[in-house]
């Protein structure tokens, strides 16, 4: 600490922590350190320290309000132990129940980055219109310009809400595609086996 000691306990970081708390409770989406520092008019490093203090105070098991790192920023959420009460509060919870089609579409958009409905349809083998419309309506994906700037199909990307709903700090937390279903060898063997049985 490079500041003079004070007898009266108004620890400046405590005060900054209260400001950060206040910002987090009024924000409608996660705030990153830069945003918090700009609004609090303070140093990012000190904001990080304040966030450390708050994360300790608002931690699972200790508080009904939990501070979490999500979607590239920090946000308050309800403690998991209060999940039943929250479910009763929201009769139709936002993040429940995505169909298989919606999940596949979401996976494609999340992994391939901005892509169009035809892109998605080509991979899934069926038209993606209703799945895409449903995901847009839920705010999990959003428009991100058009393919080839002019005249192309609209492209979609995942939103920060997607990361929040899935509890991801960022898209980089998605498992690597290479680690998923990477059984190309097995498939290849089966194809070769079939090919050999086929009369020439």
């Amino acid at each position: 600490m490079d500041r003079p000691l004070r007898l009266i306990a108004t620890n400046p970081v405590d005060r900054l922590a209260r400001t950060v708390e206040a910002l987090l409770v009024v924000a409608s989406q996660p705030l990153d350190v830069a945003e918090l520092a700009a609004a609090a008019d303070d140093e990012p490093e000190r904001v990080e320290t304040a966030l450390g203090l708050l994360a300790e105070r608002y931690r699972e098991g200790r508080s009904g309000v939990v501070l979490e790192r999500v979607a590239g920023g920090w946000a308050f959420r309800a403690a998991r132990e209060a999940a039943d009460a929250c479910a009763r509060l929201f009769e139709r919870p936002v993040q429940r129940g995505l169909s298989g089609a919606a999940l596949e579409t979401l996976a494609i958009v999340a992994y391939l980055g901005p892509c169009t409905r035809p892109d998605i349809a080509r991979i899934r083998g069926v038209a993606a219109d209703s799945a895409v419309a449903g995901l847009v309506e839920r705010g999990l994906i959003a428009e991100a310009g058009r393919d080839d700037a002019a005249g192309g199909a609209v492209r979609y990307r995942t939103t920060p809400l997607f990361e929040r709903v899935f509890g991801l700090e960022s898209l980089s937390e998605l498992p690597r595609l290479d680690d998923l279903g990477g059984d190309a060898d097995e498939i290849r063997e089966r194809l070769h086996a079939v090919a050999e049985k086929r009369p020439a």
Binding site: A107, G125, V126, G151, P175, G181, G182
Partner: protein
């Protein structure tokens, strides 16, 4: 035997074949989820319960199931630039394996997301602003009207035409072969299928065979084959002209 009433019991679908087709065409059922081999098995099982081979049913089934497979294959192997037909068999197998693996990975990714969602079931957060938060006034810097003109002009740009080249290559119209076989049969009463199509590509041969089944279904021809893999002999059958409408219908399905 009515193919469309064939009862199916698959993972993704339970009910008559007809309903399956309807759901698939209306895109209410993901064809990628449908085990087409299961459909074929169900049909073959039904056939074995009968003493006589129902050629009409077989023909119809072949047409429907191949349309289904074509749709499914086109969905699973969407890369229109890579022409599987131009590849050597080994290369084609490699390419197929690569694409199947890619598709499977995406399905795995969806499964991972589903599990993640399930695990996050008890995580609740506020989506809107806090009840007593100040109202955010969205403010916008001054904008150039030229942007609006540019946006509208961009919407008036004709999209590049969709290439249908690969489809023409892979799937010549059945009607073409219907006409060709009818023309042959006007000149002579019978012909040898293998001789007529021997010079064609494998895909063209397949379509020609479908045309043959179609003619048989319309009773325009009779088909004879002495033994499996023996030459297929085709002769003109009783003259009937009911095939026209149906031909048009299925050409649409196959395109």
């Amino acid at each position: 035997m009515v193919v469309r009433e064939l009862e199916l019991d698959l993972d993704a679908f339970e009910g008559p074949f007809d309903l399956l087709l309807t759901l698939v065409l209306k895109e209410e059922l993901d064809l990628a989820e449908v085990d087409v081999a299961g459909v074929v098995l169900a049909f073959v099982e039904r056939l074995t319960h009968r003493d006589e081979l129902d050629l009409d049913a077989c023909g119809e089934f072949l047409v429907l199931v191949s349309a289904l497979l074509e749709l499914k294959a086109r969905g699973l192997f969407p890369d229109e630039d890579a022409e599987l037909a131009d590849l050597e068999p080994e290369e084609a197998a490699e390419e197929l394996a690569r694409r199947l693996a890619a598709y499977r990975r995406m399905k795995e990714a969806a499964t991972w997301l589903a599990e993640r969602l399930e695990a996050e079931r008890d995580r609740f957060f506020r989506v809107g602003p806090a009840p007593l938060a100040p109202r955010a006034e969205p403010r916008l810097a001054p904008q150039e009207p030229a942007q609006l003109a540019a946006a509208l002009r961009a919407l008036a740009v004709e999209p590049p035409p969709v290439s249908l080249r690969h489809m023409a290559l892979r799937f010549p119209p059945v009607a073409q072969f219907l006409e060709r076989f009818r023309a042959i049969l006007r000149r002579r009463r019978r012909f040898d299928f293998d001789v007529e199509v021997g010079a064609l590509s494998r895909v063209e041969q397949a379509v020609a065979f479908l045309a043959l089944l179609e003619l048989r279904k319309a009773d325009e021809i009779t088909i004879a084959q002495a033994a499996p893999f023996a030459p297929i002999r085709v002769a003109s059958g009783e003259e009937r002209s009911s095939g026209d409408e149906r031909r048009a219908e299925w050409t649409v399905h196959s395109a």
